[in-house]
């Protein structure tokens, strides 16, 4: 409730790090996890103590470690964001077909990725804006079509202040009926099978009304919506 008294600006909310921290609570011991570019990448910094997860990068590595020390960069060791990385003990390297065999075959338990829009039936759009230059979908379409658990990490609204949680995506789709959970700067939401974003948690200091105002798709609001515990 801090900041709530003199609040004339939009409600307090999480920053990108906060979103990543909240998502890290979803990790389970022994999971293999693919993190997309942007906010999802930050999740690797907040793995809870006592659990072990292995990060996969779809260009062909399991057991991705932190960035290398200065001067120790290896041009032959990068992640899917083309960043120089390191390999942890127990890592393995493989080709692109094997990498997506893991993903498509649901051996990777969790995918975290960003989105431009998510619909209340779990559709996701994150690769193309008509009229703007297309960069390509990379591995996103394979990831969203395959993963059993897909968490979208994104801001609740776009730069124009419009909701990114819609009843139907307006942008070209990356995948349909695939997103299970969404963590934004305002809330944690679950996509229910019968359509609708079920509000699970509020960001610290954020009111249900703020979330309602920022959500264009159907929002299911339980009687009690706890505040996120970021520990």
């Amino acid at each position: 409730m801090r900041n709530a008294l003199n609040n004339v600006q939009p409600a307090p909310m999480l920053d990108k790090t906060g979103i990543a921290r909240r998502i890290s609570q979803e990790l389970e011991d022994g999971w293999y996890v693919n993190l997309g570019i942007g906010i999802p990448t930050l999740v690797a910094n907040f793995v809870p103590q006592g659990i072990e997860v292995t990060f996969q990068s779809e260009n062909g590595i399991l057991g991705m470690g932190p960035f290398p020390f200065e001067g120790e960069e290896d041009a032959d060791l990068i992640n899917a964001g083309k960043q120089t990385i390191t390999a942890l003990p127990g890592a393995s390297i493989f080709d692109s077909a094997t990498s997506f065999a893991m993903i498509r075959g649901q051996h990777v338990q969790l995918t975290v990725l960003g989105a431009m829009e998510v619909s209340d039936t779990g559709d996701i759009a994150n690769w193309k804006i008509p009229g703007k230059l297309v960069k390509g979908m990379g591995g996103a379409m394979d990831l969203v079509a395959s993963a059993e658990n897909i968490i979208v990490a994104m801001m609740h609204t776009n730069r124009a202040g419009e909701s990114k949680l819609l009843s139907q995506c307006s942008l070209p789709l990356t995948g349909v009926n695939c997103v299970k959970k969404i963590v934004t700067n305002l809330a944690v939401l679950e996509v229910t099978p019968d359509a609708g974003f079920r509000l699970l948690e509020r960001a610290p200091g954020v009111r249900v009304a703020d979330i309602q105002a920022a959500t264009a798709g159907r929002l299911i609001i339980p009687d009690h919506v706890p505040e996120m515990q970021l520990g």
């Binding site: 990068s57 779809e58 260009n59 062909g60 590595i61 932190p66 960035f67 290398p68 020390f69 200065e70 001067g71 120790e72 960069e73 290896d74 041009a75 032959d76 060791l77 990068i78 992640n79 899917a80 964001g81 083309k82 960043q83 120089t84 990385i85 390999a87 390297i93 493989f94 080709d95 692109s96 077909a97 990498s99 997506f100 065999a101 993903i103 498509r104 559709d123 230059l133 297309v134 960069k135 390509g136 979908m137 990379g138 591995g139 996103a140 379409m141 394979d142 079509a145 395959s146 070209p172 789709l173 990356t174 995948g175 349909v176 009926n177």
Partner: protein
């Protein structure tokens, strides 16, 4: 049967304008630098290039875009290249974007004699438009077809004179599957050793997939995103 050739130029003999090429690499990691340079120095054009990315403006496939030798690009992600953007917008470059996993699997299928397979990737999106849809266990999939190429140009770390290849780190990426899918596969390697040097148990690409091999030179191995952490003090 001699697979070893002197250099990229010799390795690309018979590669003509209008052909379809596969080029290994992810970003600038594991790309066939010597072959790309040799192509850039040739007057071969109107190429269809199948590669996960399209290089950057002054390196990798960007060199062939700059010289307008590419007519069509089949890739999954092309976001690092302003020249690419220009040519796509002015209509001189045709672009076919494919989900990365489908691209990899389609290359493998091409090499493995699997003409088509079902995958969930792209269903319900524009990638799935016009493609056959079929549900398996209640989940919709689309039918994707194999890709092959007149030439596959791959880069490995070590290779032997029988064409056996070993890649290093994530420079492996698309190289093994493209090596399978070329009618003529050219491998450039950082170190070429006599057959019998490499452990048969530790070969990433068996020599049967490689028709020509040479030891490349002057590898730049550019880094696109140099990310580091400071040394602990």
């Amino acid at each position: 049967m001699q697979k070893q050739v002197a250099d990229a130029r010799a390795a690309l003999e018979g590669l003509r304008s209008g052909m379809t090429l596969m080029l290994g690499g992810f970003g600038l990691c594991g790309i066939p630098e010597n072959c790309i340079t040799a192509l850039a120095e040739s007057d071969i054009n109107a190429l269809t290039c199948i590669s996960n990315n399209a290089g950057v403006d002054d390196f990798g496939l960007g060199l062939l875009l700059h010289s307008r030798q590419i007519r069509k690009m089949i890739a999954s992600y092309v976001g690092e290249n302003a020249e690419f953007e220009r040519q796509m917008l002015d209509g001189s470059l045709e672009v076919d974007l494919i989900p990365q996993g489908s691209l990899a699997e389609r290359c493998r299928a091409g090499g493995a004699g699997i003409p088509a397979f079902f995958t969930p990737a792209g269903y319900g999106t524009e990638v799935g438009e016009g493609k056959e849809v079929r549900s398996f266990d209640g989940k919709p999939h689309i039918l994707e077809h194999a890709l092959t190429a007149d030439f596959a140009l791959v880069k490995a770390w070590r290779g032997d004179t029988d064409g056996n290849l070993i890649y290093k780190g994530t420079a492996r990426n698309f190289n093994p599957v493209m090596a399978m899918a070329g009618r003529i596969t050219v491998a450039e390697v950082e170190e070429l050793v006599p057959a019998g040097t490499l452990d048969p148990n530790m070969i990433h690409t068996p020599g049967v997939f490689v028709q020509r091999i040479f030891q490349g030179s002057r590898y730049e191995k550019r880094i696109e995103q140099r990310t580091t952490r400071p040394h602990a003090r």
